[in-house]
């Protein structure tokens, strides 16, 4: 189970993010003091140390900053190869790691992508992306 890898890290800081995904919302944070978006979730702004941070729903659109086709994976991901992992730069300016799904021929750096809510397990929805 993928959730077994991470559920011990679920706490008050990260829970809104994971709960949001269960409701098909990609939540990121916004700092009202320095007006910058934040990902991953924190209780203090890494840009200005403000604690005036709020959750906002991302538009879910962005671009591929980089990607790799994985041919050799470990553990429970072994059987998934080949699969594509990328770093997505959302339109809000923050970057996140994700899987990029869909036609591999279309996958390229700078290609626009949008979020797809993938129910990978009963209790786990992940924000995957596909080329738009």
């Amino acid at each position: 189970m993928i959730k077994d890898l991470i559920h011990s890290a679920f706490d008050e800081e990260s829970k809104p993010f994971w709960d949001g995904l269960m409701n098909e919302k990609l939540l990121i944070q916004y700092c009202s003091d320095c007006h910058q978006y934040i990902f991953y979730p924190r209780t203090i702004c890494p840009h200005c140390f403000s604690e005036d941070i709020s959750w906002q729903e991302s538009c879910g659109n962005g671009r591929i900053y980089s990607y790799t086709v994985v041919h050799q994976a470990f553990g429970q991901f072994k059987g998934d190869t080949p699969f594509v992992v990328g770093i997505i730069e959302l339109d809000e300016g923050v970057r996140m790691m994700s899987r990029i799904i869909g036609d591999k021929e279309q996958i390229a750096i700078d290609q626009p992508v949008s979020v797809v809510f993938a129910k990978v397990e009963n209790e786990l929805v992940l924000p995957y992306f596909q080329v738009t």
Partner: protein, 379 residues
């Protein structure tokens, strides 16, 4: 050169390296420490500072120093991955300059090949945002950087392969090297795909092994038999932890650590005679050469082409055969220091770089996360 002679590397040694079943990490470090002391002409009782990095104990310094029977006046367990040991050298030089101690022992040991340690933490904390996607680490992270560099600058797999081939040529001149067969560019390009664009021969070895480095004050160093290898400059930094948080996938914090090391030493890139640059993957070297200012951003591919870093080339690099072909027991940084010291002492027989007076040693740790640079000078 403006740097004062304050501290020097006076002893270096590897433990057994390669496949070493039946030896644990403490045995390997003890073996290396004893040999490094003999190399220096010092004894255990001369050591008053202890440095190590590892994930084989909750507080490695405590276990190691107890095992070796040392009660240090100064202790440092800085762990920033493979570049930890270059940071240790910098910290040791600073401690000696501050008058806190005179002789430091730096060690590393790993049984990565025969008995990999499975350090698991109660919570992955911020890694929770990356673990679910199955990226194999560290290789997948370096692949993301390589892909971006290729996109931005047109760097090719052939150019990355140049590094692997040149490094293997050095390994063939080092009897201790793990890999014994020559390779060609085509062999790298035809090796098994791991994570695009990286293939098996773009990746470092997985071996057992340990090493030790003794750093001493000028006062101690000048009384020893072997010529001291002076620590002329050092710098360290880290820019991120996980790869999605790397500010620019094509630039490492070598830009900062290298700049500070060069400034402290008062020398420039073109004065370096031999470079020992962490080669966890071929792309690690290419990014590092650019970030250290040996060439401009995007020119790393051209810089390594035509076997310029091979024996006989005009930029001798990774002269022991590197993490790609000599040994790589998890955190390789200590072996870079060992080789640079031997080069500056002129102890490298068939792989000796002629007239090597100034060496650059550069460690990279994590997923391009941390860097430490040390500039060393012969006596």
């Amino acid at each position: 050169m403006k740097s004062d002679r304050i501290a020097a590397i006076v002893g270096v040694a590897e433990s057994d390296i390669g496949k070493i079943p039946g030896k644990n990490v403490l045995q390997l470090q003890a073996q290396a420490a004893k040999s490094a002391l003999e190399d220096a002409g010092l004894t255990k009782n001369d050591i008053d500072a202890v440095f190590t990095a590892g994930n084989w104990a909750w507080a490695p310094n405590l276990m190691l120093a107890e095992y070796l029977g040392i009660q240090p006046k100064f202790t440092d367990s800085t762990n920033i991955g493979g570049s930890s040991f270059e940071a240790h050298v910098g910290h040791a030089a600073a401690g000696i300059e501050a008058g806190l101690f005179e002789v430091a022992l730096i060690t590393y040991g790993s049984t990565n090949r025969t008995n990999p340690s499975n350090s698991t933490f109660k919570s992955p904390l911020t890694a929770q945002y990356e673990l679910p996607y199955g990226l194999p680490t560290p290789v997948g992270a370096y692949a993301l950087a390589a892909m971006r560099h290729m996109h931005q600058y047109g760097t090719t797999s052939e150019q990355l392969a140049e590094i692997a081939v040149a490094t293997r040529k050095w390994a063939l001149l080092n009897e201790k090297a793990y890999m014994k067969e020559p390779i060609e560019i085509e062999d790298v390009l035809n090796s098994r795909k791991i994570a695009d664009p990286l293939r098996l021969l773009d990746c470092c070895l997985v071996t057992d092994g340990g090493g030790a480095v003794i750093v001493a004050s000028k006062n101690v160093a000048s009384k020893l038999n072997k010529k001291p290898v002076w620590i002329l400059g050092h710098g360290e930094s880290h820019s991120h932890n996980t790869i999605a948080n790397m500010p620019d996938l094509t630039v490492t914090s070598a830009r900062e650590s290298g700049k500070r090391a060069f400034e402290m030493a008062g020398i420039t890139q073109d004065e370096i005679d031999v470079a020992e640059i962490y080669d966890s993957f071929t792309i690690t070297v290419l990014l590092t050469l650019e970030s250290l200012g040996f060439c401009k951003p995007g020119e790393g591919g051209a810089f390594v082409s035509g076997q310029r870093t091979a024996p006989g080339g005009d930029f001798p690099m990774n002269t022991n055969g590197g993490g790609l072909s000599y040994c790589h027991p998890g955190m390789y940084g200590i072996f870079l220091l060992i080789e640079a010291t031997r080069q500056l002492r002129g102890e490298c027989s068939s792989r000796q770089v002629e007239n090597a007076k100034l060496a650059l040693v550069h460690g990279t740790g994590g997923v391009l996360s941390s860097t430490s640079t040390v500039i060393l000078g012969g006596d």
